[in-house]
């Protein structure tokens, strides 16, 4: 371990010698302090937090990510090209220890820079929050600068699948046919069954039972927030639809909302009073549709209850933890590519991988459409290319790998006051550091072990 730490210390010294630590620290602090001066919020709590957190944390991630890749590629590739690695490699230290030492040095450097800039964002945000009007500060305390857990209706996928199969069997028994596109028929029945759960017809009420028994005790006296989202097939002239809500169940008197004017396709948060959870730990919420058109509440996002789960400080730290996991992966990619490539090629290669990661939405789009040629919404036809047979499976694999790292959105969660749980952080650690970084790092160490370090280098 001492040998590994010695290499890590040398990486730190190199970062200071090249003034990289200083430059990146100044850039990060400049971005954290300077950006909020350039960017104006609209004076509301949500606007203030979304703008400040999104811009500062995104800038920190981008700056730190680029410098990590650069340093990771440089610290190993340059050592090999300049033959300095030969001086180290002849010492009684294994190659893997050199590699791990450099990796530890890089990630500890990242941890220090991330902690420094994160602390500045945290202090700056609280300082600027103090300048908001009192009413907005209250919103900030209750809705934004908190870690809010979320509870949804129990999953009904299995019930829907059972009901779909029953209906399919019934119809096949009633109308036996020899040739039928069974998957398509099943899909159509499935949509019909799902619609029964999702649609609220005009003048009808849909009821949700949300199980909050695990958090019931801690929610005594705490207001809750209902997050609603619905779609509508028809457009309303005003752009909004009326919705009425009722929460709570007998014997307690229920709470009823005024008619709410809500826009479709948007999430709305509605505060409901404390102590409406029933003795069984369930919160009953009913939504009335008084419009002349049906409203569709999607099964997942249609309605959820948000409740205070913890403090913002700890949530913020967990968010930074996920960003740290990303930085660790970048450090691993940089070091692994520098294990077998020269500095410029390694940097280019790593940036290429990063570009693929960032364009994963394009890949996802191609996979969902099943073609590279795109879908023409005017003709309703999907394009076709012979390349699809090879590209789409490859895209699926790339997406599967990329999503292991991209499946987390700490900035979004923090700016909307959503809780980043310890479980999420552990999952990020497992998927990003242990699994992805482990495989890539293992590959890098293996290549570095087998590489002939004393061959004439291109720069000599």
């Amino acid at each position: 371990m001492q040998k590994v730490l010695a290499i890590a210390l040398l990486t730190w010294k190199a970062a200071f010698r090249f003034r990289l630590f200083l430059v990146v620290a100044v850039l990060l602090l400049g971005a954290v302090v300077g950006l909020p001066l350039l960017i104006e919020d609209d004076g509301t709590a949500r606007g203030f937090t979304q703008i400040l957190l999104t811009y500062t944390l995104t800038t920190i991630t981008a700056l730190l990510g680029m410098s990590t890749l650069w340093l990771a590629c440089g610290t190993l590739a340059r050592d090999i090209e300049d033959c300095q690695i030969q001086v180290v490699a002849v010492k009684p230290i294994a190659r893997w220890q050199i590699w791990i030492g450099k990796w530890l040095g890089l990630i500890s450097l990242n941890a220090a820079l991330l902690a420094l800039s994160g602390f500045c964002v945290f202090v700056l945000m609280h300082y600027r929050a103090g300048r908001l009007p009192e009413a907005q500060q209250a919103i900030l305390r209750n809705e934004v600068l908190v870690a809010r857990g979320s509870a949804r209706e129990a999953n009904v996928d299995s019930e829907i699948a059972r009901e779909t199969d029953r209906l399919l069997r019934e119809r096949l028994d009633r109308n036996p046919v020899s040739q039928v596109d069974l998957p398509e028929v099943r899909r159509q029945i499935l949509e019909q069954v799902k619609a029964e759960y999702q649609l609220v017809q005009p003048g009808y009420v849909r009821q949700w039972e949300i199980d909050l028994s695990s958090a019931r005790r801690s929610l005594q006296g705490q207001p809750l927030f209902v997050r609603l989202k619905f779609n509508s097939a028809e457009k309303s002239p005003s752009g909004t639809f009326a919705v009425m809500m009722q929460a709570g169940a007998p014997p307690k008197p229920p709470w009823r909302s005024e008619p709410l004017s809500l826009a479709p396709d948007t999430s709305h948060e509605i505060e409901i009073p404390a102590n409406l959870i029933g003795d069984d730990g369930k919160l009953s919420i009913a939504v009335l549709n008084p419009n002349n058109t049906s409203l569709l509440f999607p099964l997942g996002d249609g309605l959820e209850v948000l409740y205070r789960e913890g403090s913002f400080g700890l949530n913020f730290a967990r968010g930074l933890g996920i960003i740290f996991c990303w930085m660790t992966l970048l450090a691993t990619i940089g070091l692994a590519s520098a294990s077998f490539l020269s500095f410029p090629v390694a940097a280019f290669f790593s940036l290429g991988l990063l570009a693929i990661t960032l364009s994963s939405s394009t890949l996802a789009n191609a996979v969902s459409e099943g073609t590279l040629m795109g879908y023409n919404s005017e003709t309703g036809k999907t394009g076709y290319s012979i390349m699809d047979h090879a590209a789409i499976p490859v895209f699926k694999v790339i997406l599967g790998v990329v999503n292991l790292a991209k499946d987390f959105s700490p900035v979004d969660a923090l700016s909307t006051g959503r809780s980043i749980t310890w479980e999420t952080l552990l999952r990020a650690g497992w998927q990003i550091i242990l699994l992805l970084s482990g495989i890539i790092g293992g590959l890098g160490i293996w290549i570095f072990n087998r590489r002939e370090l004393a061959t004439a280098q291109g720069t000599q």
Binding site: T44, R46, I51, S238, T240, A263
Partner: protein
Amino acid sequence: MMNPTTKKILLLALAGVLLVSSGFLQHDLNRDRDKLGLTRIAPLENAPPVLAFTTVALGGFRGLISNALWIRANDLQDQDKFFEMAQLADWITKLEPHFVQVWLVQAWNMAYNISVKFKDFDDRWRWVRKGIVLLRDDGLRFNPNETLIYRELAWFFQHKMGANLDDAHMVYKQQWANEMAKVFATNTPNVSELISPQTEDQKGRAQLPLDTYKMDPAFMKEVDERFGPLEWRLPEAHAIQGGRSVRQPPS
């Protein structure tokens, strides 16, 4: 052989002289361009430093950047990230200050599309007001002769605030009346007292329409005499004024 330090100082001095000369030359060039009708649009005047920098330094690349920002802004709007989207809209208008459609689309988006996404009527008013302010304070500042902007502004007052299409229209009317109450202290709005204020209170209030609401009291009086008397605390009066400006932009 000249001493390197002396050479550097001389070169720096030369650079300084050339820079100052180009400044004078630029002034003459702009004047000649204007005189010869070579300028389609007037150079930006009184622009904030960020705007002046972006329009000059980025040159033709401004269009590309604003396109990219526009795509991003659309994505953000789909994701309900309105605050971030509004920031991008601000940058897009700064990159293309003379492109009228940019002002119109962004203002319409704020006043009509984004405002209704909020359930609280006060929040909606904030976005409607943002749309109006964007056109009135910035759009017209850089495009004072663009009739489409006056027309759009008039439409916002007449349709968004004046009509009963939006559930929150009464809040808009009330908020606007509150704002106008600061300009007209009495129950009967008197435009003449804003043109030639006598008391300290009147002098203070006379500055408000000019500084904050970009309304010229003399022009208001002209509109009032021709179409009025108008109740200036109602949005419709401002719609008429905006419509009148389409035909005859106030000087």
